[in-house]
C-alpha cells in the first residue's frame, strides 16, 4: 500500500503516519502591535481526531486557525501542520487541507456543480491511492444534500444551502485535515444533525482530522474528541467534555424525592453520597437524578478562572 503511494509524485500526499501529530503547536504567540492575542498556545492533534476550539469572542480562535491554515504569519513559536510549517507550505501541502471560513460570498454567479467541478479539478494531480482526489461531484452533492441544487446559481442558494456548499468546497479535495470556522451558524436542527453525521463520516471512514470552532456548546460536546478552551491568550483547559467537567472540581448535583418532598444536594463525590442516601432511606428514595456539571457550566467556570488569573 505504502509503496504505491510513494510511487506518485515525490512527497505529495504521503499520509501522516498513524501516531504522528497532524497539528503540533508549541508556544504559539501572536501580537497585533502592542496587543498580545496569543501568549503561548500549546496543543497537538492526532489523525482522525475532532478538536473543538472554544473561547469567548476575541480570545484568538480565528487567529489561531488562520495561522494553522497558512493565511497569517505568527509572531513566535513553533507550528507544524501535516509535518510542514504553514508559512512554508507549498501547493502540495495546500492540497491536503480543507478550509471552511465563517462567511463566504464568493463565486455568486457560478452554478453549484460548475464550481465544485472546477475547484475539484485543481486537486486531481494530488490524488493518491488511499486518498483519491477530487471527491466525485455527484457523491459530494449527495453527502452535503445539495443534489437538487446542482444547477442552481450560487447567489440564489438559501443561507443554509450556501453553508453546505462551503463545506462541500472545503472537502472537495478530500483533505487529510479540515478546518471549520463556526460551520453550523444558520443551520436548522435537521441540517445541523446532518452536518454532525457528515463530520462523523469524515473522521470514521476517511480518518480526516477536523479542527472546528463553535459557540454551540452542545455541538462541541457531541462532536469533539477533545475540547480546547482558549482564553486569556492561551489554552485554559483541554480534554473531552467529561474530563473537563472533572477538571473543574465538579460538584455533582443530586436530586431526589422522599415522602413527596424534593431534595437537591451538591457533592464532590456523588457515588458515595448516593450509596449513603440509599443506606439511610432505602425504598423511600424516588426520582433520583445525578447530573455532573454540564459543559456550559464547566466552560463558564473555566473561562472565568482564566480571565481572573490573566488580570
Amino acid at each position: 500500500m505504502n509503496e504505491t503511494v510513494l510511487a506518485g509524485e515525490a512527497g505529495v500526499g504521503r499520509g501522516v503516519p498513524i501516531d504522528e501529530a497532524v497539528i503540533e503547536v508549541r508556544d504559539l504567540r501572536m501580537s497585533y502591535g502592542p496587543k498580545e492575542v496569543l501568549t503561548g498556545v500549546d496543543f497537538t492533534a492526532h489523525r482522525g481526531e475532532v478538536l473543538v476550539l472554544l473561547g469567548p469572542n476575541g480570545a484568538g480562535k480565528t487567529t489561531t486557525i488562520e495561522i494553522l491554515e497558512g493565511f497569517r504569519r505568527r509572531s513566535g513559536g513553533a507550528v507544524r501542520v501535516l509535518g510542514v510549517d504553514p508559512e512554508q507550505g507549498a501547493e502540495q501541502w495546500r492540497a491536503r487541507l480543507g478550509v471552511v471560513l465563517q462567511s463566504w460570498r464568493d463565486h455568486s454567479k457560478w452554478k453549484v456543480r460548475e464550481l465544485l467541478e472546477h475547484l475539484g479539478a485543481y486537486y486531481s494531480v494530488y490524488s493518491t491511492a488511499d486518498r483519491p482526489r477530487p471527491w466525485p461531484v455527484d457523491e459530494l452533492l449527495e453527502v452535503v444534500g445539495l443534489t437538487e441544487s446542482a444547477g442552481t446559481k450560487i447567489a440564489r442558494l438559501s443561507g443554509g444551502q450556501r453553508r453546505r456548499l462551503d463545506v462541500a468546497i472545503g472537502i472537495v479535495g478530500h483533505p487529510e485535515l479540515l478546518f471549520l470556522d463556526e460551520p453550523t451558524v444558520g443551520f436548522d436542527p435537521e441540517a445541523r444533525r446532518e452536518f454532525h453525521d457528515l463530520v462523523h463520516r469524515l473522521t470514521d471512514v476517511d480518518e480526516t482530522t477536523i479542527m472546528l470552532t463553535t459557540h454551540d456548546l452542545d455541538e462541541a460536546e457531541k462532536l469533539a474528541d477533545r475540547i480546547l478552551i482558549l482564553s486569556g491568550g492561551r489554552i485554559a483547559a483541554a480534554g473531552s467534555a467529561d474530563e473537563l467537567s472533572r477538571q473543574v472540581s465538579g460538584e455533582t448535583e443530586i436530586r431526589w424525592t422522599r415522602d413527596g418532598q424534593r431534595f437537591v444536594h451538591s457533592a464532590a463525590e456523588a457515588t458515595g453520597f448516593v450509596r449513603e442516601l440509599f443506606r439511610q432511606h432505602g425504598d423511600a428514595i424516588g426520582d433520583l437524578e445525578v447530573r455532573r456539571s454540564s459543559l456550559e457550566e464547566t466552560y463558564m467556570k473555566l473561562v472565568r478562572e482564566a480571565e481572573g488569573s490573566a488580570r
Partner: protein, 280 residues
C-alpha cells in the same frame, strides 16, 4: 503547469459565458456602441483635416483603442477589487495552484470582454462609415498589436487592483483614464492638439494603440494625417513593450503581497466596512 493553464482557461471561459448571459453586463458592453452610433451620425459630414476621408472611420477605430485600454486597466482592476471583497480571491488562495488559475482566468475574461466590446462598436459602425478596410497586412498588425496592448494594460490594471482597497475607490481611476483618452487622439486627430499635449499623450499606451489600430483598419493614404506622416510601427511596439515590461516587473511582487494579506478575517473586516458604508 499546462494543467493549471488549462484550468485557468476553462475558468475564464466559464466567467465569459456568465457575463454574456447577464443582461446588466451586456448592457454595459452595448452602451458605448450606442454612444458611438450617435456620434457617428452627428459627424457624418466631417472629414479628417487635410483629407477627403470621413472622420467617422477615425473615431470608430479610436473608440476600439479606448475600449481595449479600459478593459485592460479598469476591468482588471475592478474584478480584482471585487473578488477580493467577496472572498473569491481567498478561495483561490485556499486551493492548490488556485491563484495561478485565477489570474489566467481573469486574463481570458478581460481579453474576451474587450473583444466583445470592440465587436459591439465595430459591427454597427461598419454600416455607418465608409472606408474601413482590413487586409492581410492589417490583420498581421492586429496579431501583435492587440496581445501587446493587453500585456501593456492588464498587469498594470492588476497592480492598481491590488493597491486599491475596494471597488468604490478603484472606480475613481476612471477619471484619469477618460482624461488620457481625450488627449490621445482617439476621437479626433491628435495633430489638432497643442504640442505639449501631444508629447504627454505619446508617453501612454492609448495613443499608440489607436495609431496601430488605424494603421490596420484605415487606408494607407491616411498616414498623411498622422504625426510625422508615418504609422511608426517600431515606436508603437517599443512604447507598448516598455509598458508591458514595467507592468510585468511590478505585478508579481505586488500581487504576491496582496495574496499574502488575504485571510478570512481580512475578508470579514472588509465586508463589515462595506456594510457600514451602505447603511450610513
Amino acid at each position: 503547469m499546462i494543467r493549471v493553464v488549462r484550468l485557468g482557461l476553462s475558468r475564464g471561459l466559464i466567467e465569459l459565458r456568465q457575463t454574456v448571459s447577464s443582461g446588466t453586463d451586456l448592457f454595459g458592453y452595448f452602451l458605448p456602441a450606442v454612444f458611438l452610433v450617435i456620434a457617428l451620425i452627428w459627424m457624418r459630414d466631417s472629414t479628417i483635416p487635410g483629407t477627403e476621408f470621413a472622420l467617422g472611420a477615425h473615431s470608430l477605430v479610436g473608440s476600439m483603442a479606448m475600449l481595449i485600454v479600459i478593459s485592460g486597466l479598469m476591468s482588471m482592476m475592478q474584478y480584482l477589487t471585487m473578488d477580493r471583497e467577496d472572498g473569491t480571491l481567498l478561495r483561490a488562495k485556499a486551493t492548490p495552484n488556485g491563484m495561478t488559475g485565477y489570474l489566467i482566468g481573469k486574463i481570458v475574461l478581460v481579453a474576451g470582454v474587450a473583444v466583445i466590446s470592440c465587436l459591439f462598436v465595430l459591427v454597427p459602425g461598419l454600416f455607418l462609415v465608409d472606408g474601413l478596410t482590413l487586409g492581410a497586412d492589417g490583420l498581421l498588425v492586429l496579431l501583435w498589436l492587440v496581445p501587446l496592448a493587453f500585456l501593456a494594460t492588464m498587469p498594470l490594471g492588476a497592480v492598481l487592483g491590488a493597491l486599491f482597497e475596494n471597488p468604490r475607490q478603484a472606480s475613481l481611476m476612471m477619471l484619469p483614464i477618460i482624461g488620457l483618452t481625450a488627449v490621445s487622439g482617439v476621437f479626433y486627430p491628435i495633430t489638432a492638439l497643442a504640442g505639449w499635449v501631444q508629447g504627454v499623450a505619446q508617453v501612454f499606451p492609448v495613443y499608440w494603440l489607436g495609431l496601430g489600430l488605424r494603421s490596420a483598419f484605415l487606408p494607407d493614404a491616411l498616414v498623411a494625417a498622422e504625426l510625422g506622416g508615418t504609422w511608426r510601427h517600431l515606436e508603437t511596439f517599443g512604447v507598448l513593450a516598455a509598458w508591458s515590461v514595467a507592468g510585468l516587473a511590478l505585478a508579481p511582487g505586488i500581487l504576491r503581497r496582496m495574496a499574502r494579506r488575504e485571510s478570512g478575517s481580512a475578508v470579514a473586516a472588509r465586508r463589515e466596512r462595506a456594510m457600514t458604508r451602505m447603511t450610513v
